[in-house]
């Protein structure tokens, strides 16, 4: 009962902190649209060379790649900001009596909620901006949710290890960019390398949903493996940074 009350209070505090920042809302609306259009327009300029092995036209592939990048980078950066901005207050809460694991559960729950919203905005934007119709928007949404959660976990991890907004967001954006190039499928890159690209699985799910209207179910497990690995690392590092030496919050 106590744990539930505390976790609910933690989720409510995190969600309020997030949605009361206008900058977060602006990023949420603007970044997917900007990224999808820029990637789409940029790739559409390329002539179709032999080494481009995309399942759809370059303009469509570009927009899918833009959606996956925007979703991953946005979730990662917002996860990072959540952890850094609440770090000191979380530490004080843990001294007052909320165990770090419960604080982390409330952070995870908030970030999963935010990830779903990011994926929904990206899916909606993709549907509106793609020249062709999206075969199965729901499957595309599932793929983007997975990409979003993978990077949200990575955001917590980076925020715990490198608690600085500028440096941390640079690391995440550069990682997401490199990851996205590997995941895009535009270039023929050895699969032994691309299988270590976290975004490649969400990207494949979204591409198949958009182009064929089917669900790439075999990509879900590898994507969830990345969620699990980054999630465990995030738990360990976050707990290490927030865990108090002793708690003094016992009520009188």
């Amino acid at each position: 009962m106590t744990r539930t009350r505390q976790t609910v209070a933690g989720v409510r505090a995190s969600a309020r902190s997030f949605f009361r920042k206008p900058f977060n809302i602006v990023l949420l609306v603007v970044l997917p649209a900007l990224s999808i259009q820029l990637y789409g327009i940029s790739l559409a300029q390329f002539p179709k060379f032999e080494f481009f092995t995309t399942a759809a036209s370059l303009a469509t592939t570009g927009r899918i790649t833009g959606a996956v990048f925007a979703t991953g980078a946005l979730a990662g950066v917002l996860g990072l900001f959540q952890i850094i901005s609440a770090r000191d207050a979380d530490r004080r809460l843990s001294i007052c009596g909320i165990p770090p694991r419960d604080l982390l559960i409330s952070r995870f729950a908030t970030l999963v909620g935010i990830s779903v919203i990011i994926a929904a905005v990206s899916t909606g934007t993709l549907v509106v901006l793609l020249p062709d119709s999206v075969g199965a928007p729901v499957f595309a949404f599932v793929g983007l949710v997975l990409g979003s959660i993978i990077y949200a976990m990575l955001g917590i991890l980076v925020g715990s290890v490198l608690p600085r907004e500028l440096e941390g967001s640079l690391v995440l954006v550069i990682l997401a960019d490199m990851d996205n190039v590997l995941a895009s499928g535009i270039f023929q890159i050895d699969q032994r390398i691309t299988r270590f690209s976290p975004l490649s699985y969400p990207h494949d799910i979204v591409t198949q949903a958009v182009v064929d209207g089917t669900f790439a179910g075999e990509k879900v497990l590898p994507a969830l493996s990345f969620v699990a690995v980054f999630g465990v690392l995030a738990v360990v590092t976050y707990s290490w940074t927030v865990e108090p030496v002793a708690t003094g919050g016992e009520a009188a």
Binding site: R92, P244, G249
Partner: protein
Amino acid sequence: MSDRTQTAPAGSGSATVIRADRIEKTYDSWLPFTRAVEVLDGATLDIRAGDIVGIMGENGSGKSTLMQILAGVLDHDNGTITRNGSIGWCPQEPRLYDRLTVDETFDLFGRAYDMTEDEIEDAEDWLLDELDFERFRDRQVRHLSGGNRQKLNLSVALMHEPDLLLLDEPYTGFDWETFQAFWDLTEELGDRGVGIAIISHIINERDRFDVIYELHEGHLHREVVGEDTDTTAPENCEDPSTTEEGTQ
């Protein structure tokens, strides 16, 4: 992290609410061309129920480090901390959520202390009235003035009526009326048996304290206000509730 915590049998009473014995703390760095900074070197302190204790020392002497070690925020390298009862910690910088209102902050920390809704409401009403910031209860923390933010910071430490209060320069930004209200409240809490440790720079306040610890070169020098005694180690306490030792 600390290597050991001991719990004494239930019912073991003691007037000591916290005792720090020969605490050592050095800030190490793994970066090249940086040097380790030794902050505490055998610091010993004892706070009893009802004591109002001042911790003084020059800038950078390690007062905040000592207080964080006492509160359990920071680990120490060597020595023993013995805590007996609940603690309220008011850090120098308010560690609060900027986007929550005053009401929401009381609710969040009240739940962290495992207080009931009624207890939280009563504590909030009491502290808003006592420190006179009732009219700001709907305002987000980031929109509060420095003084009001500090009142909230102090309130969060006080709201669960702890046995020991650890206050790191708690009145920064207070106006004169609030400063007086703070000391009235402190004396009232002291009379109720709450042990209170306050980091202070204001030399004129010395008479308000029962005991003053001067932190100098890693050591604590104890002075009982109104007496000439000056000892570096207070007498031993008995029957500790919780004992925590350093790691090295």
